[in-house]
């Protein structure tokens, strides 16, 4: 019995096939990266795994339980949290309130939620900004907030959807550090990214999607050298410049 399994997922929208027969497994405690050109179906995959879409076929199995078709809040309660590619902060609420809402996923008392939220903010480095209104944050801090909110729900699995996009190098490093800290706590991470440096740095294993199909799977080094991957991204004449 696996930890997290995606089993033959197919999803079409109108005439467009977003995902076709996608299967893979994630072991507890791994960091797995998912890459692929735009339109490859990565966000659709996350939406299916977190209950925002139903797949046409296939299943998502978490800890032996079929979670396909459950509502997103139920999946969160089961222990899978996510961030959104286009951040969705609670704009008129403070940073602390944003994170507290996540904390209430596991605790009921106001006091405990407050403590949880403050601890999470400390971890990701947003403690000093806890009373700021979310809509006033810069992009970098907003991404961090996305992360903090998901973390506050005390997940076992964290799905990060392009959490590094739009960040400058300093901000990117900060988030990479946060992700590492989270991973060290034992949380399994699935990360969709376009920023190659990030994926190569963080991921232990990478899955490559192209037009909704898995075309490769392996360690970062294996992926870099895989001709199918190179062709998908760049056409067939280039090699990807190395990883860290």
């Amino acid at each position: 019995m696996g930890f997290l399994e995606v089993d033959n997922i197919t999803k079409t929208f109108g005439g467009l096939v977003a995902l076709k027969d996608l299967s893979f497994e994630v072991k507890e405690g791994e960091i797995v990266g998912i890459i692929g050109p735009n339109g490859a179906g990565k966000t659709t995959l996350f939406n299916i795994m977190t209950g925002f879409y139903r797949p046409d076929q296939g299943k998502v199995i978490f800890r032996g339980e079929n979670i396909t078709g459950l509502r997103p809040y139920q999946i969160c309660k089961k222990g899978i949290a996510r961030t959104f590619q286009l951040t969705k902060p609670f704009a008129n609420l403070s940073v602390l309130e944003n994170v507290k809402i996540g904390a209430y996923n596991r605790v009921s008392s106001d006091k405990e939620a407050q403590e949880e939220a403050l601890a999470v903010l400390e971890l990701v480095g947003l403690y000093e900004r806890r009373n700021e209104i979310a809509s006033c944050l810069s992009v970098g801090h907003r991404k961090n907030l996305e992360l903090a909110r998901a973390l506050a729900t005390k997940p076992q699995v964290l799905l990060l959807d392009e959490v590094m996009s739009g960040l400058n190098p300093k901000e990117t490093n900060e988030i990479i550090m946060s992700v590492r800290k989270i991973h060290m706590k034992g949380i399994t991470i699935l990360l969709v990214e376009h920023v190659m440096r990030v994926i190569m740095t963080l991921a232990q294993r990478i899955i490559v999607l192209h037009f909704g199909i898995k075309i490769a799977e392996g360690t970062p080094k294996e992926i870099c050298e895989d001709p199918k991957v190179i062709e998908a991204y760049l056409g067939d004449r280039y090699e990807i410049a190395g990883s860290e």
């Binding site: 969160c76 609670f90 704009a91 008129n92 009921s108 009373n131 209104i133």
Partner: protein, 333 residues
Amino acid sequence: MEETWEGKKPGLKKTVFSALIAIALIVLPHFLGDYLIHVITMGLLFGYLGLAWNLLGGYAGQFSFGHAAFFGIGAYTSTLLQIHHGVNPWLGLFFSGLAGLLLGLFIGFLCFRYGLKGPYFALAMLAFAEMLRLLATQWMSLRYPLGISIPLKGDSFADFQFRSKIPYYYLCLILAAGLVYLMRFIERRKTGLYFKAIRENDDAAEAMGVDVFRYKLIAMALSAFLTAMGGTFYAQYYLIVEEESAFGTGISVAILLGPLVGGVGTIGGPILGGFVLEFLSEVTRNLLGAYSGVHLMIYGALLVFVIIFMPNGIFGGIKVLVKKFASTEGKEG
């Protein structure tokens, strides 16, 4: 130790201040004439109704254009029970609340189950209110062409009727103050934060473990329950219930305009707004006399004005400014 701006422990100064206000409110009616007491009582009532609406609209973010549905169901339930079955109006008050609650759950289930949001939800609510109005007209206007009159029983607490306006004032004060306290209680806890999360972004809320459907239903049911009881109060105050004033668009607008003017999503806003509206409608009625609906013209103009120039309302605007100020103070650069 609470850290958020809103959570500071009330100091001694604040308690003394509140106590003074409370005392002032309690002795006030004995210094005022009947007319003014009437105006203030109506201001309190619409403040109360606005707060009830605000629970669903300002906190959970679902703007209803049809709260008359609950108001009317409340007014009719207690009145019909009283007239046809001799049910004591206080008991009727409870049944009104129940009727509102059930109606709210029914409508809420339909709307939220099928994902109605924003203007589509608003319009659906309007449609429901209108349907109830049509039903009431169909069933009532033959037998009660001028509306249902509640027979005068004189000055009796048991009968929920008073000769003087003062007891009504106190009742309304209790309603409004009670709801203010309830809102403050809800606002800081899990339920209140969950409502706000739904208002701000319900997808994100759902992804963070909030059962959005359930909480929207809770907001709707509570709002409906409270609004319906307001309807009963109104019926007992005016001693007449008819379908246009109970279920009409006029009352739906009057209910939501208060929070809009005073500040949607605040607690003081609906109360302030309720008073502003009441004073405005009294002034226009005196100036333009003509017919009873003339205040609606002013409401329409006010609605347009508020939406364009101060969509956050009076308190809302202040609150936003203060929060932004707190943000810049807290920023580290």
